[in-house]
Chain length 155, copies 2
């Protein structure tokens, strides 16, 4: 497959994509969590020891943000990476030092009946560490434009 941009017409069930990598380090994890998820197990190595996790782990929303950035950089969908929502899970806590990438698999491709210029694609995004540990699974419904008909078609 070429490098895109991909229209709905270019997607098919079972198709896979892989993004580049992002190093989730402690400084980044603590900075993000201090602003958006300020809980001791995300912001303070010492204090984290006495919590549910027992150690400093990344906020799931930091993993989600990193995942989105990897997708914007690595998944050239025509019109942009636009999700309507989906099912998100963080199967294992993610520790600083994780080197994450996203593995995507197209599960469903559905042209819109009411809007001929677009459709929906259901895509499973697994955010994984180099050792295969799954930091996040996001099965999302994406809004994807149809490929425009050539202006001169049929002439």
């Amino acid at each position: 497959m070429d490098d895109g941009p991909y229209y709905l017409d270019d997607l098919s069930v079972g198709q896979r994509f892989t993004t580049g990598e992002y190093v989730l380090d402690a400084d980044g994890a603590v900075a993000f969590a201090s602003q958006w998820d300020p809980q001791p197990f995300h912001t303070d190595k010492e204090a984290a020891a006495g919590t549910f996790f027992g150690e400093l782990v990344a906020s799931g929303w930091y993993t989600a943000a990193i995942t989105m950035r990897l997708l914007v950089e690595g998944l050239p969908i025509a019109g942009g990476v636009i999700g309507a929502g989906g099912e998100i899970a963080w199967p294992t806590p993610t520790r600083p030092g994780a080197v994450l990438h996203v593995e995507a698999e197209v599960l469903e491709v559905r042209p819109s009946r009411s809007r001929p210029d677009r459709g929906m694609a259901v895509v499973r995004f697994e955010t994984v560490d180099r050792d295969g540990a799954v930091a996040q699974v996001f099965t999302a419904t994406m809004v994807v434009p149809r490929r425009p008909a050539p202006e001169d078609a049929g002439t």
Copy 2:
């Protein structure tokens, strides 16, 4: 109900909580998206005009981050606000200027069979603007500790 912290034993189906407010402004939305969701409809008012949204809108992940911060500040669950995952949706695009708060409703409370010190609570979190527009719905499975038995019980 008192101000917490809430253990699983303090939660019941139908219980509701409301958080404080957060003003989602354009500077914050653009700063977040520039780092985590760098697409023109999230980062550039002029360029956004020619996109799917037709105007600058907040990244759904920014709404998610704001939601989490409001919950950490406003939902005093014992041990912290810890989600295993859930279903997330952004029913309407959120424009800068939105003043968001979160309305939570407990849908399910389930003590763990294997771990007597904890359980799961399913909670629906609606992130809403002052005019009632729903920016995000997150129906999450939370990990919540049981209330510890008093040391001197039965003496």
